[in-house]
Structure formats: structure tokens, C-alpha cells
């Protein structure tokens, strides 16, 4: 479903993404791991068509994101990193807005809103404005927005960031539940999440892909069999250098 080939992104002299390639098929959940500023968000923004790539190609469901952006975007749901929302809108209004932009109207729109409200446990805040929501609710509202059209491809930038342990658990459950029907990419700092929810993981460091494999394969790289040691071994040298 998602095919990324030799993707590069430069911001002036800074190279944010350097020659990243991977594919994600339906039924797969790909975890993006990497330190802060390693290029995870930038890669996701290119896949979703927000940033144009400097070079390389991204296709989603066979549509080149640069050439057929509308068709590609139609297939995707996207949860940006900060889980943004319009402060002055109610949850219901915001989801309705997203639904309409996804081409849903009338009873289809209403059914879609009801479905994501239930999926993301938003029943208690439906008519509350977004600026009055707690961080967890705000996050889930944006997550609901990304699911409104039941997309085949789901891109989530740190979907569990800022959630309490129970909410994190719920979101991971949700990802696992949806996995068989979709191609999913999500980024995270939390290594257990990768083991719990991903079928495959990629470690990105300073714009480069430094490791890729199933969680078990990645773990096997370390003598102790712990994912965080693999992560540290692959990315720490650079952190020290940067400091």
C-alpha cells in the first residue's frame, strides 16, 4: 500500500531525511523509532503530502503522492504530531468538518461521526469545544478525525504521546484491532509499544535508516535481547556527537 523509495528531504543545508526506502502492505503495522529530530515526522509529512520531497518517490495505493496528491490523500488518515484541532469548534463540529472534506455527507457523515466517537471514547465530550478538552481527549479527537473515512492507510505521528497509561493501552489496542484491514505507520519513543503493536520496525537516526526488521529480529541484535539496548547502540553515538 505504501511504497517509499530513496526519499530525501533537505531544509536548506540541513538534511532531514536521507535516502529512506521501505514498503508497508495491508495488514502490516510499521513502527518508526528514533531519537527526537531524527526525521520521523518529516518522513510522515512527506508521505501524507504535506511536504514535497527533495528527491525520491512515495506512492500510496499506487498513486504517486507528488503527482496524484488528491487520490493518494483520499486513501490516508493522518494524525499529526501535536494532534491539532480548531480551538473554537466542538468535537462534533470538528469531526463533521473532517467528514465533509472526506466527501461524507448526510447520513453517511452522521454514521461516520458516531463510529469514531465510539472507537475513540469521546462520548463524554461530543459538544465540548476543543480548547476546553484535556490533552488526552484532544489527542483522541484528532485521532478520531484521522479515522473518520475508515482509511486504508493510517499514518500516526506519536499517537500515544501525552496519554495516561490507560489511554496508551486503549490506543495500542485500537491499532492492533485495525491492523488486519489497514496499512499503518506510527512513530513512537516508547520501545515496548513497538513490541506490543508492530509487525515491523524501522530505526531512524539523523535522517538515515539504521535498522529494520521485526521486533524479534531487532531484539536479537543485542546480546541481552532488549530492544532499548539495540536502540541505544544504534543511535547513542550520534547523540553524544551532537552534544
Amino acid at each position: 500500500m505504501i511504497k517509499v523509495e530513496n526519499l530525501c528531504k533537505h531544509f536548506g543545508a540541513k538534511i532531514a531525511v536521507n535516502d529512506i526506502s521501505f514498503t508497508v502492505e495491508k495488514g502490516e503495522v510499521l513502527g518508526f523509532l528514533g531519537p527526537n529530530g531524527s526525521g520521523k515526522s518529516t518522513t510522515m509529512r512527506i508521505i501524507t503530502g504535506y511536504y514535497p520531497a527533495t528527491s525520491g518517490r512515495v506512492t500510496v495505493g499506487g498513486f504517486d503522492v507528488a503527482e496524484k496528491p488528491i487520490e493518494a490523500k483520499r486513501l490516508m488518515g493522518y494524525l499529526p504530531e501535536s494532534a491539532p484541532g480548531y480551538a473554537d469548534m466542538t468535537v462534533n463540529g470538528f469531526l463533521g468538518f473532517a467528514a465533509e472534506l472526506r466527501g461524507l455527507t448526510g447520513s453517511a457523515k452522521k454514521a461516520a461521526i458516531d463510529r469514531v466517537i465510539e472507537m475513540c471514547f469521546l462520548q463524554a465530550v461530543v459538544y465540548q469545544t476543543i480548547d476546553t478538552l484535556s490533552k488526552g481527549y484532544k489527542h483522541r479527537t484528532c485521532l478520531a478525525q484521522s479515522l473518520i473515512h475508515d482509511p486504508q492507510v493510517l499514518i500516526m505521528d506519536e499517537p500515544t504521546d501525552g496519554l495516561d497509561p490507560n489511554q496508551k493501552h486503549e490506543v495500542r489496542n485500537l491499532i492492533r484491532k485495525m491492523a488486519p484491514e489497514k496499512a499503518i505507520i506510527f512513530s513512537t519513543h516508547i520501545l515496548e509499544e513497538v513490541e506490543e503493536a508492530c509487525t515491523r520496525a524501522i530505526i531512524i537516526d539523523r535522517g538515515r535508516m539504521v535498522a529494520s526488521g521485526t521486533p524479534a529480529e531487532l531484539k536479537a541484535r543485542s546480546p541481552s535481547g532488549k530492544l532499548d539496548e539495540v536502540f541505544r547502540a544504534l543511535t547513542l553515538s550520534d547523540t553524544v556527537k551532537a552534544a
Partner: protein
């Protein structure tokens, strides 16, 4: 058809945004109070002893100078500050549709504000018998004047996430568009430059083009001027939004 549905959705959200916050009400009240004050007090509406809305329309370029950027400043800077721009531009629609939707919504809001000045029109019709054709042309001109300022505010709003900077920039640009054809300034210019140069500079001014509308003349050239300012400013908005993401 799909494009229009997207534009309508954006418009609906944007207009809703004005009315769920105090912005709309504060703006409408201030706008109506100020138009009343300028028309009747500063503009000597009654002392003029003529049945026209000259004293009403004369002030619009100056009144809009501060009020229209106040409406337009948030259009894109707010999207950037909240991060919703990322959401909006990853939706299956073109940036054009979003730009147009936002612009049309704010323009419709300004049209509402302008329409609410109808008591002035009733007053002048009650007191005398003005040429309502001239008044209608004045309203059309005023609406396009507001649209031009708004498109400029839209453009400056796309440049920054800071609404204050966006506001100041658009006031300065709009001020240029006024002063280029403001009589005291053009008089000053004729002393140092040839009349041809002054005419060319003045032809860039909203004052020059708004004048015809106030006299009841809807000249195609004046009309085209406002439409091109709007078109150019919105096009630039698109370029800025695209440029920011290209890095």
C-alpha cells in the same frame, strides 16, 4: 463539483469561527459605530444638505485600513499557530480550495457588515430623494475595496504565525494602496515627477479606482483593478503556503 463542496465546507467552518468567538460581534459593533461617527459627525452628513452618501463612502478606504486586516489577520497565521494547517493541507483537496474558501468566508462576513449599514441608506432616502443607482454603485465599490484589503491581509497572514505582524504588514501595504492616489500625496509628487509618472503611480491606488464607484460609474477598468488585486494577492498566498513547505 467536488471542489465547490470543499470550498463550501471551508467557508462554513470559517464563518462559524467568526460567530462562535466574540470577534464577529465586536467587529460588527465597532464597524457600525465608526461608520456612523464618520458619516454623521466628521463627514457633516446633515450640514451638507444633499441627498447622497458621499460622506459615508469617502471614509471607507480609511476605515477598512484598520478593520479589514483585523478580520483577515487570523486566516492563515492561526492555522499555523494551532498546527491545523498540517491537517487542512493533508485533506484530499487542493490548497486553492482552502485559500478561496477562507477568503470567500471572510468576504461574506465583510459584506454582512456592509449590509448592516442599511439604516444610513434609509435615513438618506427618508430625508430626501437620492440617486439610489449611485448608492448601489458605491456599495459595490466598497465591497470590492474591502475584498482587495482582505486578499492582502490573507497574503500577509500566510507569511507569519504571529497575528500582530500579519496585521501590521497588511495595514502598511493597504496604506500604500491608499496613499499612491491620495490627493495630498499626488499633489506633492507632481512637484518632483512628471504628470505621467504620477498618473502611473496613482493608477495603482484604490482611491483612484474607488472614486468612480462613488460617483455611480461602474467602469470595467476599475472593476478589473480590484479583481486583479484580489487575484494577485490570493495567488501570492498560494505561493507562500507552498514555499513554506518546500523548505
Amino acid at each position: 463539483m467536488n471542489a465547490w463542496a470543499n470550498i463550501k465546507t471551508i467557508m462554513k467552518r470559517e464563518l462559524g469561527g467568526y460567530f462562535t468567538s466574540p470577534i464577529a460581534y465586536v467587529f460588527l459593533i465597532i464597524f457600525l459605530l465608526l461608520t456612523g461617527f464618520f458619516t454623521f459627525t466628521i463627514g457633516n452628513f446633515f450640514e451638507r444638505g444633499e441627498a447622497s452618501l458621499v460622506s459615508f463612502f469617502t471614509w471607507h478606504p480609511w476605515l477598512y485600513l484598520f478593520l479589514v486586516p483585523a478580520v483577515g489577520m487570523r486566516l492563515w497565521s492561526e492555522e499555523r499557530r494551532l498546527g491545523t494547517m498540517e491537517l487542512l493541507l493533508t485533506m484530499p483537496m487542493t490548497a486553492w480550495q482552502a485559500i478561496l474558501g477562507k477568503f470567500l468566508a471572510s468576504w461574506a462576513f465583510l459584506a454582512l457588515a456592509l449590509a448592516l449599514t442599511f439604516p444610513v441608506w434609509i435615513t438618506v432616502n427618508w430625508l430626501g430623494s437620492p440617486d439610489n443607482g449611485i448608492i448601489a454603485a458605491g456599495y459595490v465599490g466598497s465591497l470590492f475595496l474591502a475584498g482587495s484589503y482582505l486578499a492582502i491581509s490573507c497574503m500577509t497572514s500566510a507569511m507569519t504565525r504571529n497575528q500582530v505582524i500579519s496585521f501590521i504588514l497588511s495595514v502598511v501595504i493597504c496604506l500604500f494602496f491608499i496613499l499612491a492616489g491620495y490627493t495630498p500625496i499626488t499633489d506633492l509628487l507632481t512637484r518632483v515627477a512628471s504628470p505621467v509618472v504620477v498618473d502611473i503611480i496613482a493608477s495603482f491606488s484604490v482611491m483612484t479606482h474607488f472614486e468612480g464607484f462613488q460617483r455611480g460609474v461602474i467602469d470595467l477598468r476599475d472593476f478589473l483593478f480590484f479583481v486583479s488585486v484580489i487575484g494577485f494577492a490570493l495567488f501570492t498566498t498560494g505561493v507562500i503556503i507552498r514555499g513554506q513547505r518546500a523548505g
